[in-house]
């Protein structure tokens, strides 16, 4: 198996972005800004063996290499695979290469922040910031779910929301729902916490003894004296069973665990929506978080321990309406926690999904744009390898009647001569009402990177790439990278190549969308033939 590590999806045309993998170990460059890809000189139906599994990597593109073999040309089918971000940097990823294995290390890769642990150093702070950024991307993708409540205006509502200067309410989230619904439940439970009377052995004054058991009787029998009063000694106490009130029940442990988890989720939510802290939802979540924190402290003070995930619910948790709601809410938050592992690993795919939506939203900003067709968006109940939305290609077809043009957003990797560019998004521009309507294409590369921001010189690299492609149908390239700040979008243009940072909120999102619109408009031929 011939395996290469690619640092850019277009590495086929830029040898500097390719590293041959051999047995032993390999490290990604310190300044690498993007996810790593594995390039295999074998077809897509033979996936790479990564960390001992064939389903670790996700197929990005399928290509072909031609080489002269004697008189004829020999074609080799090849494939490009996206690698997930490791949860722990030290472990790296083990890739099977010809006859051996290669441990792939990413020295500067961030590690997934530990749940419930405040960051202590710069590295952890960067990880926490990256986690927040990833969650913000999921929030933007989640906007689709909200917009689906009025499907006739889906794209319009998405555009309104993403381009609004007024920040508006932050996105609906499980913690917001729980903040609304669980407040009354917590109030009711706090007023009537379940308690049990536990039987304990305790030295009890003779006059208060109510119950003796075998252990108590044995203790009495061992004491010196004839009568009970003598055996009770000077203190006139004997070992007897006493009943003691305890709050440390399974259901209260779950309640405490829930309160602590809800508090943490609340803080995450506020962190993701720092610019919207004064909105109704944010205030609601903040208030709920405080409420949970207070109750968790109170429970801890009453000796209630914390439940661990994975326990089996008892009768109270299943049948008591209030505790059952706590159980359900806890499970919902735990499920979200579990999902974050997967989302962390596949942030690059989430980013691609967000960029695809952003491209359609930007396209709708072109003057007079009218949707001709859009593939239905199906918002999954659970994410799948970082993606929430299920859709088909073309994602959108937009009519620009003023120019007599049709722009089509395609979301499948190409398998023709353009496959080597490995762009997951393509903009196809054609002219309406003509027999030879196809005009040109624009390749779009959403490139996620942990550090965010632009990669220096990338626009020139893409321009060079386009020149290498020979102009023709491929007229431009657009690279979308995560923004580091919310205040503005950074960009770098070199002729038909634009690299741009795309934010998840505020001006960084709005400006980036306007820039994409402008960039696309620049490619639209003005004159009718």
């Amino acid at each position: 198996m011939d395996v290469e590590l690619w640092l850019r999806p277009w590495a086929r045309y830029v040898p500097a972005c390719r590293l041959a993998l051999a047995s032993g170990s390999a490290a990604l460059p310190d300044d690498h800004a993007g996810p790593p890809w594995l390039y295999l000189r074998q077809p897509a139906d033979s996936p790479p063996l990564v960390d001992g599994r064939y389903d670790t990597a996700e197929l990005s593109a399928q290509m072909a290499e031609r080489a002269a073999a004697g008189q004829a040309q020999h074609e080799t089918r090849t494939s490009l695979w996206l690698l997930p971000l490791p949860l722990r940097r030290a472990a790296g990823q083990v890739v099977a290469v010809d006859g051996g294995t290669c441990r792939l290390i990413w020295p500067n890769a961030p590690e997934k922040p530990q749940t419930g642990v405040e960051p202590r150093d710069d590295r952890e702070r960067r990880s926490a910031a990256l986690m927040l950024r990833a969650e913000a991307v999921w929030d933007r993708i989640g906007d689709v779910e909200d917009a689906l409540s009025d499907p006739a205006r889906l794209w319009g509502r998405l555009r309104e929301r993403w381009t609004a200067t007024d920040a508006g309410e932050p996105r609906m989230d499980e913690i917001v729902r729980q903040a609304r619904e669980m407040g009354r439940v917590l109030d009711a439970l706090e007023a009537h916490l379940r308690r049990i009377l536990r039987r304990v052995h305790r030295m009890t004054p003779l006059g208060r003894v109510q119950e003796l058991d075998r252990r108590s009787l044995l203790w009495i029998a061992r004491q010196p004296g004839e009568r009970l009063a003598e055996r009770a000694g000077d203190s006139q106490r004997i070992l007897a069973i006493a009943r003691e009130e305890s709050f440390d029940t399974l259901e209260n442990r779950v309640l405490r665990a829930y309160c602590e988890l809800a508090d943490r989720h609340g803080r995450d939510y506020i962190g993701r929506n720092r610019t919207r802290r004064q909105t109704r939802r944010a205030r609601l979540v903040e208030h709920f978080g405080k409420r949970c924190r207070r109750l968790a402290h109170e429970l801890a003070a009453r000796g209630v321990r914390q439940a661990e995930p994975g326990l089996t619910p008892n009768f109270v948790l299943q049948q008591n309406p209030l505790y059952h709601r706590v159980w359900d809410a806890w499970q919902a938050l735990l499920a979200r926690e579990r999902a974050t592992d997967e989302l962390w690993r596949w942030q690059a795919r989430s980013w691609e999904e967000f960029c695809a939506l952003a491209l359609v939203v930007a396209l709708m900003g072109v003057a007079g744009a009218r949707l001709v067709a859009t593939a239905p968006l199906w918002f999954r109940d659970e994410q799948r390898r970082g993606t929430w939305i299920e859709t088909d290609s073309p994602l959108a077809v937009v009519h620009l009647p003023d120019r007599g043009l049709i722009a089509e957003v395609q979301t499948v990797a190409r398998t023709d001569a353009l496959a080597g560019f490995a762009a997951p998004l393509w903009l196809r521009i054609g002219r309406a009402g003509e027999t030879r309507g196809f005009l040109r294409r624009l390749a779009v590369w959403p490139l996620w990177s942990p550090q965010g921001g632009l990669a220096a010189g990338e626009a020139a690299e893409v321009r060079q790439l386009l020149v290498q492609a020979g102009g023709g149908a491929l007229a431009g390239g657009l690279v979308l990278r995560p923004a580091v700040v919310h205040e503005h979008a950074d960009w770098e243009q070199d002729g038909p190549a634009l690299t741009l940072t795309l934010g998840t909120e505020g001006a960084a999102l709005r400006d980036a969308l306007f820039m994409v619109t402008e960039f696309v408009e620049g490619f639209l031929p003005e004159d009718r033939p």
Partner: protein, 809 residues
Amino acid sequence: MTRRIVGLDLNGRFDLAARDWGEDDEDSGDRPIRILQGGTAAAVVHTMAHRRVAGPQAALAPHGRGRGWGDIGDPGRRRPLSGAIDRGAGTEDDANDLRAAVDALARGADEVVAAVPDLLGFAEAAQGAMIAALRARRRQARLLWRPVAAFLDLLAEGEIGPQDEGLRFRLLIHAGGGIEDQILTLRQDTGHPGHFAPQRDGPGQLCASQVGLDALFDRAQRLVVAANIGIDWSRCDASRLGPALVTGAAESGQTEVLRAWNGNWEVATAPALAPEALGLAGLYLPAPAAPITVTFLVTPLASALAAALAGAVEGAAGPVVLAGPETVARGCLHAGRLIARGLPHYFDRLEPIAIAVMHSDRPAWEHLIPPDAVVPANREHVSPELGGFEWRKRKAELDFYVLKGEGEVRHWTVFRPPGPSRTVPVALRIRQTPGQSWARLTVGAQDWETLARSPVLLDWESLTPLPETPEEVLERLRNAPPTIPERVVEDAHIDLWLGSIWAGEGEAGQLAAAEALGRTKGPDDWAKAIGRQRRHPDAPRERLRPVGTDGDLPPGLPPEMRDGFRAALDRMAAGLCAATLRDPPRDNSLLKALTWSFTACPGPAQEAILRALEALAAGRHHPLLVPSHASRVLHQGSGRAIGGAARLARLFTYLEQAPLNTDTINALAMALSRRQEAPEALTRAQVDHLLSRLGEELIDRIRRHDLKVRFRNTILAIAALFRWRLREPFALLAEPRGGHPPDPAAIALREKLLEAQVLLEDPHRHVAQREDKVAVVKAILLHLDGRGDPGILDRMPTEDDNESVDDNA
């Protein structure tokens, strides 16, 4: 948090949804109503990942639009929603399509109230299928007649007000196949003064099919094609401009981009759509039966076309008020809110449902829902329980004739094998929510756990209506074969073998265990052990025996006891058969032990008993006749133990000729009332002869003031003779029935029974428990009319009361 309700007007032509809440509202119902567009001529598409998507997303989707789109354009990926709706979500595919449409327009809703056509064809089956299709996880569904929904919105908008109470309004709803016409009356709810709602008196009708939306869409589409002659329509997407022009979603001059099959793009332009071109003039609408206050027309047509249609309707039906297409969806939402507040959203006339029951001497339809019942539609109407029915002991099924409406009769057989262990009263109850699928007709029985736990529900759809009219069904019931008394079966009980507080010390079990170990026990011990009977301590205090009257042993009896008992019987039978005149049985214990085992008595022993009786009749000697009181034990034992049609025939031949006395009557009563094969063993002549003799005997007993064992066995034997009807269904009738003439033997018996009744009712005569005895005579008289109680034998006194006589023997 109040429920999130969505009002839906899904018709596949112009779908709308109304809701008054947002995704993130804490309390729904406080926002202004928002209308969601479902699109014109809606479709359902199948994505590449095999999901069904409907609503506006499907309308815009490239799926199924044609080969210009590649694989995704395969026409099989797109289906019109109107087809699924018109077929009433009849198939799984239709139901899934409909569910996808609701998912699209009612995302996040707790409940949907969906408008449905108020037409006769949209009956319970379609309603049920529709409700099932609309429901989903965490989403309830309710249906509402489209005109009622429109009326509710007009009421909420003030177009109709409290001042119109009692007035009639005509609602014309523009639908796919024409115009749905319904008349509703405004009335005030007596339970909630100040609350007004429409009253519906039956289904509406469909008229003016030539202006149905489907027809208009077709005409408009043809105009679009004709206006764009430059487009090769056979090689590009189908245009949707026609329907869009009709509903106002597109305007004249508007362009539509279509994908050609070669991947390029064509542009179609919408022509001007004149009302004349759509043929909206010259409409006919039927005249209403009673005066109408206002006629409302609800149509999704573009304003100019709607005005033209309103003009045409005015020409046919008088002044018309136009209402927007969102009226229906909004009305559904209003209805949902009213229901949530516990207020009736409309009043409906329920379709009457009746059950065929016997009224004294003739069958009649007893109404569970009265024909004129008008009920509030927001809650379920629950009928009072209709009782007076019985589920007979051990009968696995019960038959009902159910009349729905005016002429739809279904024969409903409730099957619950093996049936109750005793006769239990059953009751019928009906529950129905107007316009929400089938009425729920249930049969329940509180005293029978099987039915108490899960009453049987009538599955309307699995029963085909009978071809007969209700009157013909009643006539059939009237001429049904007369009732046949059911034989008496007394069960064996394990406690009488193993012992318990009520059943004693379990002597039978001890004997059987000893026999199994080879320690034989004497026939006297066995006779005492198995000849006893007990009543169960719990109601209904059934009579139980160690060996059942059919010779059965109790289920669960240990095999070794079973084997021990069989061995003892075989041994005793061998002893009985070995008896000779020189070595006769010492006493009657062998005979008693064998005959208390009922038909478990081995065949040779039964033969020996019969031979002894025949010897007695012939005046010959027989070893079994030697012991003291042998005749009594032999007679009474023969009634218990003789089984099989051939042997029983020999027994009846003997008893027919033998003088009637306590023993012979006991044997007759026992064999006739308990043996399944008794009717097979009788002849018609024997039945007539026995009836005549037993009738005489009855009168004789009453005159002699002997109203104890012999009297009761006589009555039992007479009643048991009606089992002859198992062979001749119309026999022993004193009145003509079903074309069969009266039976002389029955007429003679009736004379005797009437005489017996007179004697028993004579106040100068002392009769203990007079009423019970008269009731028994009357019950037999009813059998002579063919209408008796099939459980008469079970209710009769049995030979238990003369057990002492037997014991004395």
